[in-house]
């Protein structure tokens, strides 16, 4: 029984080792995020693959806070592989983040937990 995927633990372990991994249906070839024990829709097996880290901002909101706290952004990013995830874009004034903007994934650590944020993609 323990041959089943343990989605959260495995995802987090990959991040801790510096890899942003997402899942792909072995039969369907379709990529998925967030991590699951079975493929959504089909219920079939999934494998881990490293995400390219490339994505585009799908939507953005800037959350205001009582000064002196700074506002911060929350975005949805469409990964190049297809899935969408919530994240934030660092390294840019939140007011300058635009829908459609190309971004690149980075793994950061806060409160002893690694997670994925994005930065504006390097100009080609």
């Amino acid at each position: 029984m323990m041959a089943e995927v343990q989605p959260d633990i495995e995802y987090q372990a990959h991040l801790a080792e510096g890899h942003f991994m997402i899942q792909r249906g072995i039969a369907s070839g379709v990529h998925h995020f967030y991590p699951r024990a079975i493929e959504p829709g089909t219920g079939r097996a999934l494998e881990w693959v490293e995400a390219s880290g490339k994505g585009k901002v799908h939507s953005v909101t800037v959350i205001s806070r009582k000064p002196p706290l700074e506002p911060y952004n929350v975005v949805l990013v469409d990964l190049a592989e297809g899935p969408r995830m919530m994240s934030r874009v660092d390294g840019i004034d939140p007011a300058a983040i635009r829908i459609g903007m190309a971004v690149t994934a980075r793994i950061v650590e806060e409160d002893e937990r690694q997670f994925v944020v994005f930065v504006p993609a390097e100009e080609a």
Binding site: S59, T61, V62, S64, V74, L76, M85, G100
Partner: protein, 384 residues
């Protein structure tokens, strides 16, 4: 196999609200119980007549059990399904089926919250997603803001158009003595309020109030004996597409499209037939999305539709005639209030805000972050 014909087989025979706005000192259960008692009384029934209970209280996972005990009744059916603010319209769908099947005879749907004056902190019913919380979205507003920002990006919807939803709601609230927020409100006023999560301002967001509501349903044959003219349930349908906003395929199209389509099909009606519309307006963007998804205007046209003055008093399509969650009340979950207002309009009980000759009404509930949608279509007896 096609769906059983449930059109007009059941009817609302009682409706009530209690403690809308501020109700200091009361617990959520007390508010819900009083609204429930009033709705049962409105129907000319006794508490002991109720054999189906549909409840969802903010601070109680097992609230159906609590209300059964509170009323001293032994219901055959107890349902506390929680799908957010759409739950109550889904409860109506359930009740319709259970009543028609003869499983129960009288269904009570009720809700109450003391979230404004209550000493306890606001209850978060939803488990935080490990894939959202690192980014600190101030949910629910952040999720709705992300949808609004996509709608603006794709269709050119403007902040002024969003604001016009809040303005129409306030105009209706000014005609409703029960409404919590009254007074003049202009588009400029809305835009001058603080941004909470771009593009949504404070005045784009629903109120935080106390309040309770309840409705009673029974089979059409029994409804004839009710104290007041029954309001028939012509169609009801639900749909769930996601939980987290990142998982909604197109942030400008909600499952209301699906629940609306099935509810209209069951009722044998189209949006053109509807006289009055009650939508769950947790945020101004909701009204725009649901008007589009329910077919009252084409996709992407919602912003222009609402800014034309169409949805306010005197407009071509009366929407949220009680003032909605934006100006009437919003005690954590607003869904049931859409049903109560639709029933009051069809009974001709809406006073200054009454829509003359209203025969058909649509009530729509929304849960989670645009996640779960449910639509009910109601009609006066002659529409059955």
């Amino acid at each position: 196999m096609s769906a059983k014909d449930l059109r007009g087989r059941t009817a609302f025979v009682g409706a009530a609200t209690f403690g809308c706005g501020e109700a200091p000192g009361y617990t959520a259960i007390e508010l819900a119980a009083e609204a429930g008692r009033r709705a049962v009384d409105d129907a000319g029934l006794k508490l002991s007549d109720i054999d189906g209970l549909f409840i969802c209280l903010p601070n109680d996972f097992l609230s159906g059990l609590t209300i059964a005990e509170y009323f001293g009744i032994h219901p055959k059916m107890t349902n506390n399904s929680r799908t957010g603010g759409s739950a109550f319209l889904t409860h109506a769908e359930w009740a319709m089926l259970a009543l028609d099947a003869g499983l129960i005879d009288y269904a009570l749907i009720c809700y109450g919250s003391n979230q404004r004056t209550g000493a306890g902190k606001l209850v978060s019913a939803q488990a935080p997603s490990p894939f959202e919380f690192p980014y600190r979205p101030n949910n629910p507003v952040a999720s709705y803001a992300l949808a609004a920002s996509r709608h603006m990006h794709q269709y050119g919807t403007t902040s002024e158009q969003l604001a016009s939803v809040a303005v129409a709601a306030r105009q209706w609230a000014n005609l409703n003595p029960e409404a919590f927020k009254q007074g003049s409100l202009s588009v400029e006023d809305v835009l001058a309020t603080r941004l909470v999560a771009d593009p949504l301002h404070v005045a784009d967001c629903c109120l935080v109030t106390d309040g309770a509501a309840a409705v009673v349903l029974t089979r059409a044959d029994r409804a004839k004996d009710a104290r007041k003219t029954p309001v028939s349930l012509l169609g009801a349908a639900s749909a769930t597409w996601h939980t987290e906003i990142a998982q909604l395929a197109d942030l400008t199209i909600t499952a209301a499209r699906e629940s609306g389509e099935r509810a209209f099909a069951q009722a044998g009606l189209t949006p053109k037939d509807i006289d009055v519309v009650e939508l769950y307006d947790a945020f101004t963007i909701n009204t725009i999305l649901f008007l589009e998804d329910l077919g009252f205007c084409p996709k992407g046209e919602g912003g222009r539709f609402v800014s034309s003055g169409a949805i306010g008093p005197g407009g071509s399509l009366p929407v949220n005639t009680n003032g909605g969650g934006l100006s009437f009340c919003h005690p954590g979950m607003y869904g049931l209030f859409t049903l109560v207002e639709a029933i009051r309009q069809l009974r001709g009980e809406a006073g200054e805000r009454q829509i003359a000759g209203a025969k058909l009404a649509l009530a729509h509930g929304n849960g989670g972050t645009l996640s779960s949608q449910a639509t009910c279509i109601l009609g006066v007896p002659e529409t059955v």
